[in-house]
Symmetry: C2
Subunit: 346 residues, 2 copies
């Protein structure tokens, strides 16, 4: 079956997705009967390209790889590369699936939430790697999708492509999840790992994380726990049936942790981790984010470097823990593909 | 949708499954539109019960809980509890799904393989927790299932209900798996854990495992690695596209590991684990089972006690590791349910 796909946002993740769709096209067709035709791309910086006949992926990646915009795509007519707001692109394209991959605004979830709602109202499935809409407007969007018989999927919003939502939906279906506990931010886990294994203090470890590309120039969202906070709100509302807002969740980051704290914990057989935690007790869902000293036997204590992991407490299967990448161009691009494949399966 | 289910084998796992089907019936109906009617049970020791109108699960569990046989099920006519060979039960029942839960014979895979093939020939899906058929006859059975448009599923054969096959099928779909490495036997992991954490020698640790129910009276299959061997053959053939026989796989257990070995490894920053390993290199699939000294940063090094875990090396998602229970009445019963739910979803 052929799926017509429109991309909003064509930075790292979007280009990662395009690369996978192209390189894996034979495999995906043979293994799953899946074929993708990318029919529209719009990006704040790179412009717009609408091509119902299907975009030549190597050609568009070559143009973008040279630092050019979509207007330089060689096969387009001027009308096909006319600048368009994503809201207009959604209206104009015949794509059945919109892949939303713009940057997260964790205060408003906009403009992504507006894009997603418009796509759903126009009968298009939506997949996204953006944390904002799922963290701030999950119920609204999910209700809208359900009402229209469509899917709203966001595997890439938590732990990138490490398949948390798919795991619960397929492998653990039938379980009630009581509690989740995770290492959901790779930057802070990298910093804490280096503080312990190299005996570094917080400042130099953060500087190293920036140098190696694990932390952004302004690391606040990571080190103060806000990124993990958005993710635990999503997990609380999707997996535990909560209705939490980001302002409901106490949040403490790692910037006050010192080398001496880490060493004292280690000497006592513990390891500091930034833990995002949520539980459902008798229908009351609560969550928090804070640095915690874990005993070394905890399944999360062994998660080192920039890896992420999530432990789920279930009624039938007890504790199940999944660990994998928490970021990455290919990984997040794959997260989008995995959601598109889920739509394909239904 | 209502599914008619026939059980072959009604020991621990079968009774676990019945309990879950009954206790979760409202949840399964509301969440997934899934309804199960158990219409036949046959067990070597407990006899046979065929009831197309549906078996009263609490009533049958009460009878079995008292140590009685299926002939004592209060609502049955004599014809319904006439002793039947499972091959005859498969012919007689109108179940659309057969849940095969007899003991594993790892030399022949029989009689389970004959039951499974007969069920598939008669148009019934098959789910099983038995390692034998998948380890010895996977291609044959899978081809037969495919030819008849049916499913053959065996989530419970490896890591009980910890969803390895579901993970690959849903969350990781689109990836090529290059290599898997796992702790697939809970008994040996329990013994190695106690040898390290309590400073026990192999003999006393094995004795403790027997006392606590983690090891059988004859522990050979576990401690010599044969259980892990059957599981890595299944993983090789299902996930890596191999065609391995159990005799192709070098296998060494843990019975020669001493307290001194474990302590020397620990002092050097390593931990002994019984590792089942398989890889696909250029289309050549190889596997082995052996005790290995893992660095503590390895995702498998932190898997303690009777837990199991599997690390998958994928082309798009890098390393993904899943950890959970490797045995248990409820867990393995749930594995069967998870396979039935997968049939329901299709």
């Amino acid at each position: 079956m052929e799926h017509r796909i429109g991309l909003i946002g064509c930075g790292t993740v979007g280009q990662g997705l395009l690369g996978i769709l192209h390189e894996k096209r034979d495999f995906l067709r043979d293994a799953f009967g899946f074929e993708a035709k990318v029919v529209a791309i719009t990006d704040k910086i790179k412009g717009t390209l609408i091509a119902p006949e299907g975009i030549d992926i190597p050609a568009v990646l070559a143009v973008l790889g040279q630092g050019k915009g979509l207007a330089d795509y060689p096969k387009a007519t001027p009308a096909q590369v006319e600048p368009l707001d994503p809201l207009d692109m959604i209206e104009r394209t015949d794509a059945g699936i919109i892949a939303e991959m713009t940057y997260t605004d964790i205060k408003t979830g906009e403009p992504a939430t507006s894009y997603i709602k418009k796509a759903l109202r126009l009968g298009k499935h939506v997949v996204t790697s953006n944390k904002g809409p799922a963290a701030l407007h999950y119920r609204d969007i999910q209700d809208l999708a359900r009402k229209n018989g469509l899917q709203f999927r966001f595997e890439g919003a938590v732990m990138s492509g490490t398949p948390v939502f798919h795991l619960v939906e397929c492998g653990l279906a039938g379980n009630t999840i009581r509690e989740v506990k995770g290492i959901l931010n790779g930057t802070t886990n990298f910093i804490l790992t280096r503080m312990e294994t190299e005996g570094m203090d917080y400042g130099p470890a953060l500087a190293l994380a920036k140098k190696l590309g694990y932390a952004e120039a302004d690391p606040t969202a990571d080190v103060e726990g806000f990124d993990a906070l958005a993710k635990i709100v999503i997990l609380s509302n999707v997996l535990l049936g909560g209705a939490l807002k980001t302002t409901d969740v106490p949040c403490k980051g790692i910037s006050a942790i010192t080398k001496a704290d880490v060493e004292a914990a280690k000497a006592a057989g513990f390891r500091y981790k930034l833990i995002a935690h949520a539980k459902n007790e008798g229908g009351i869902v609560t969550a928090n984010v804070s640095p915690q000293k874990l005993p070394l036997a905890d399944p999360l204590a062994g998660v080192m470097g920039a890896h992420n992991a999530l432990s789920l407490e279930t009624d039938l299967m007890g504790n199940v823990t999944i660990q994998g990448a928490g970021a990455g161009k290919v990984e997040t691009g794959f997260a989008i593909l995995s959601d598109i494949l889920a739509i394909h399966r239904c």
